[in-house]
């Protein structure tokens, strides 16, 4: 086996305002021809930095030592000019966010040709012909015509195809893909993973795949390197890793990945515990329509289109959908953050169509909201205790933060945070801790309804598992009804009593976990389920074929 890239004892450290931080420590890696090596790890494990070192793309604040042999060149010691010759020809990169990786003011054809013209003496015409050829190969229909389109005229998945085309056009031996599907929806993700597999099979390129998603690893990788804290803790082929992980960290990482179908037993137990008496639902939507006003003279955008559902007291409704399906909009409408345009939405007995803030305000103490991004959901200038005390102060239950401190301490304890964390500032907490504090804040007024908008999608898998567990414990303890919004079917399955699937603003399917996940009726739900990569390479190969058949 000939190796395409060979990393020996790579150390990378970053200069910060404080002491230098070692991001990568003594990493040894090699990638063989035509092989997909996945580097997995949680945020801050140094996986992206390692990948960037292969392209010599480290920022100026980085200091590296060791050897990165790419073909016959050592990237670490290569001068800038030579580095430019290597990039694109020997190694190319696929970025995480396709919409920012493309320059919005040039046509995609021009951008693909740019790489060609930088490395070879092609005429404008030849370059364009080559661009059309490669775009056809990555599966963009009508490439001859669309080569002159600008990036905004493509969908997210097609943009990622264009980015991959840019990487492939110079036929590099190695493609570094940094979280290539993280920004994409599950169904699109499956298509892009398929394309990456073709990159390996048809173009013979080796791929270094950086990801945190175990399902993606199981789907695409041949070999896996697990990184933790800047070091590689385990390296083996993909089947061995999933079947018999050696290191404790790998085992923990794999165990934390939520799997479909595990929530069933818990849901059934809860359903039995719930009193059978039919009460008035906490939230009731009938033919709910929400439109965003368009610009002058243009039609508005209909984000939610005729959706009906109920949330009963003490019940968790999981709302699943891809980006743009209107799931967040529904959550915001229930919390009174977005206006309802038509139909009927009753929240705690209050009709939300044409409601005034003054009418709704007294009800706000009964609604909690957990936001997606733990980084921005706290005022950075207030301590955690002050932030958690805010709802109590606003609703007159406490006169100031000091007065509320006793209750705040209880709340922090309820979400398993030490009391002393109340004196810290939000940036002094990790993402998972902040999300727990966010839960504490939303529960401060003991609401009867909690809306959680993708509360775990910004967290690492292992942290996500802990937060989800906490959420279900709290739900049991406080007995609030909840709307749990997520794009991840497996996460929703863990928590929800019933699952509702949204597709382009419409509710396509609703039912218990068993109904929706085991015997989906709507073709979209079927596709969504089949696209979800499972963290098991054998099983995933089988599912892949099933998806193709669909």
């Amino acid at each position: 086996m000939t190796s395409v890239v060979d990393i020996r004892n790579l150390n990378i450290s970053f200069a910060t305002d404080g002491a230098p931080v070692a991001a990568v420590r003594g990493v040894d890696l090699s990638v063989n021809k035509g092989e997909v090596l996945a580097i997995v790890g949680e945020s801050g494990s140094g996986k992206s930095v390692t990948a960037k070192a292969i392209l010599g793309l480290l920022p100026e604040t980085a200091t590296e030592s060791g050897v990165v042999m790419l073909g016959a060149n050592d990237i670490v010691s290569l001068p800038k000019k030579k580095l430019r010759e290597v990039r694109g020809v020997d190694v190319a990169m696929v970025f995480q966010e396709p919409s920012t990786a493309l320059n919005p003011v040039y046509t995609v054809g021009w951008q693909i040709a740019e790489g060609l013209r930088a490395h070879s003496r092609l005429s404008r015409k030849q370059a364009k012909a080559k661009a059309i050829e490669i775009m056809t190969k990555v599966g963009i229909p009508d490439a001859a015509h669309r080569v002159n389109y600008y990036p905004h005229q493509f969908s997210g998945g097609q943009k990622q195809r264009v980015v991959i085309a840019m990487a492939l056009v110079l036929e590099p031996e190695l493609i570094v893909a940094d979280e290539p599907t993280t920004a994409l929806d599950v169904t699109v993700q499956a298509e892009i993973l398929d394309l990456l597999r073709r990159c390996r099979d048809e173009f013979g390129a080796a791929i270094v795949l950086i990801t945190h998603n175990m399902g993606v690893v199981a789907d695409l990788a041949d070999r896996v390197a697990v990184m933790y804290n800047g070091e590689i803790v385990e390296q083996s082929d993909v089947r061995t890793l999933f079947e018999s992980p050696r290191e404790d960290y790998t085992k923990k990482l794999l165990a934390a990945v939520p799997k479909l179908g595990t929530g069933l037993a818990a849901t059934m137990a809860r359903a039995e515990a719930r009193p059978d008496v039919e009460q008035k639902p906490v939230v009731s939507a009938r033919d709910l329509v929400i439109e965003y006003a368009g610009r002058l003279g243009r039609k508005g955008f209909r984000a939610v289109d005729g959706v009906s559902f109920d949330i009963h007291a003490g019940e968790v409704l999981g709302l699943v959908g891809e980006s743009g399906s209107g799931k967040t909009t529904i959550g915001r409408a229930i919390a009174g953050l977005t206006r309802v345009s038509g139909g009927s939405l009753t929240v705690l007995g209050q009709e939300m169509l044409g409601v005034h803030e003054r009418q709704f305000k007294p009800l706000r103490s009964d609604i909690g909201f957990v936001f997606q991004d733990p980084a921005s959901s706290f005022n950075p200038l207030l301590t955690i205790a002050e932030c958690v005390a805010e709802p109590l102060i606003v609703h007159g239950r406490a006169s100031d933060a000091g007065d509320a401190r006793k209750r705040v301490d209880e709340l922090l304890e309820a979400v398993q945070l030490p009391r002393t964390y109340g004196d810290r500032y939000p940036h002094e907490l990790s993402g998972g801790q902040r999300q727990r504090a966010s839960l504490a804040r939303s529960l401060a007024l003991e609401p009867t309804l909690l809306i959680a908008d993708e509360p775990t999608s910004a967290l690492d898998v292992s942290v996500q598992a802990r937060v989800l567990e906490l959420f279900s414990d709290l739900q049991k303890e406080f007995g609030f009804a909840a709307l749990f919004i997520s794009h991840d079917l497996a996460v929703v399955d863990l928590l929800a009593d019933r699952i509702a699937v949204l597709y382009q603003g419409k509710l396509v399917e609703e039912g218990t976990g068993a109904e929706v996940l085991v015997a989906p009726q709507h073709p979209y739900t079927q596709r969504l389920l089949a696209s979800l990569p499972v963290p098991d390479p054998v099983e995933q190969a089988r599912r892949r074929d099933a998806l193709k058949a669909l």
């Binding site: 150390n11 990378i12 450290s13 970053f14 200069a15 910060t16 305002d17 404080g18 002491a19 230098p20 931080v21 070692a22 420590r25 945020s43 801050g44 604040t61 980085a62 200091t63 590296e64 030592s65 060791g66 919390a335 009174g336 953050l337 305000k361 706000r364 103490s365 609604i367 909690g368 909201f369 936001f371 997606q372 991004d373 980084a375 921005s376 959901s377 706290f378 005022n379 950075p380 200038l381 207030l382 932030c387 805010e390 709802p391 606003v394 609703h395 004196d423 940036h427 002094e428 990790s430 993402g431 966010s438 804040r441 007024l445």
Partner: protein, 349 residues
């Protein structure tokens, strides 16, 4: 407990605008910031202790030995010579710093409060009020400062004025231009912060609009204030000097003003009398330079992409723990640095 409070107080001091940036800076950027701060400090001290430092009064023409004499070259009696009007140049330059400082204070005080509060209100509330305010701000922006200053000077005191009249003329004209500047910057920040999750979370809880505006939006939108503040300050000195130079300045009997002295020294330049123009001119240049240096480096330091950092010692040498001296140079206890570094990482996440 006391431990907690002192460490809180310490972190509060570190969090203060200028001190925080001074701690962060290295190399050239630190040099710029320190130079600027020293010049500004000298300027402030001179203004504060002018009566003690200056050998004579700003309007003094004679002492016990009689008149000073006009256009005397620098000598033991008059270190920087005398002007055509017979004033002591050194004293005028020192007393002038007081006038300049007063101009800065008035200009900043007049514009900062109105500009900032309008910015927060307009940015957070949005709607038609926002649109109208933005249009007005843009229109005022097109107005030439100096013309406005001249008009103000004429209105206030009929052209040649006393200390307060002249300073207010400069202050008001600067205010007219700088209210839109504060307004725009704070508004942009408010619009950004408005969509942050913590503001939405305050809304969900049912917090009143005023409480959201001041507790959550305003306090988080002030980070670029120091920069505009310095721009505002140097601009006000320039305008005051320009007014004086054009002859709309402050009478020499009511206050010392650098622009006025420059104006009176025009004829001296051609006759080889350099000391009457160089020193007041240099004073203007130095003060504006100092303030601009502070502003410019604060701007660079507040942007992590522009901020230079100490280079990390080679990764290998960390393992070998090469030279402990290298680490001690970086200042601050090891614990503090760890915290700062933690802030930094989390802040970017």
């Amino acid at each position: 407990m006391t431990n907690v409070t002192t460490s809180r107080a310490r972190s509060f001091v570190r969090g203060l605008p200028v001190i925080h940036q001074l701690r962060q800076s290295v190399g050239l950027q630190r040099g710029m910031l320190v130079t600027g701060l020293i010049i500004v400090a000298i300027f402030l001290l001179t203004a504060a202790f002018a009566p003690l430092i200056a050998p004579y009064g700003y309007a003094q023409l004679r002492d016990a030995h009689g008149y000073f004499g006009a256009q005397d070259p620098p000598g033991p009696k008059h270190l920087l010579g005398t002007t055509v009007g017979g004033y002591d140049v050194l004293s005028r330059v020192i007393w002038g710093s007081q006038t300049a400082l007063l101009a800065i204070v008035i200009a900043v005080v007049l514009s900062i409060f109105i500009g900032v509060s309008l910015g927060v209100i307009s940015g957070y509330l949005g709607g038609w009020l926002d649109r109208v305010l933005v249009v007005i701000a843009d229109a005022v922006y097109a107005f030439p400062t100096l013309l406005l200053a001249i008009v103000a000077a004429i209105v206030i005191s009929g052209g040649s004025s006393n200390l307060l009249g002249g300073v207010f003329a400069a202050g008001i004209s600067i205010t007219a231009v700088f209210i839109p500047q504060y307004f725009r910057v704070i508004r942009a920040e408010a619009v950004r912060i408005k969509s942050e999750a913590f503001v939405e979370s305050a809304k969900v809880v049912g917090t009143s609009t005023i409480r959201i505006m001041f507790r959550h939006v305003f306090r988080n939108s002030t980070r670029s204030l120091p920069l505009i503040f310095t721009l505002n300050a140097s601009e006000s000195i320039f305008t005051l000097a320009a007014l004086g130079f054009l002859g709309f300045g402050i009478e020499p009997t009511s206050a010392a003003e650098w622009g006025y002295d420059l104006n009176k020294s025009i004829s001296d330049v051609t006759s080889g009398i350099w000391w009457t123009s160089i020193f007041p001119g240099a004073a203007i240049v130095l003060v504006v330079l100092g303030i601009t240096l502070v502003g410019e480096s604060l701007n660079d330091l507040s942007d992590p992409r522009l901020r230079t950092r100490r280079r990390a010692a080679g990764a290998a040498s960390i393992a070998d723990s090469a030279e402990p001296a290298d680490i001690s140079v970086q200042g601050g206890g090891p614990v503090d640095d760890e915290v700062a570094q933690f802030d930094e990482l989390e802040g970017r996440a």
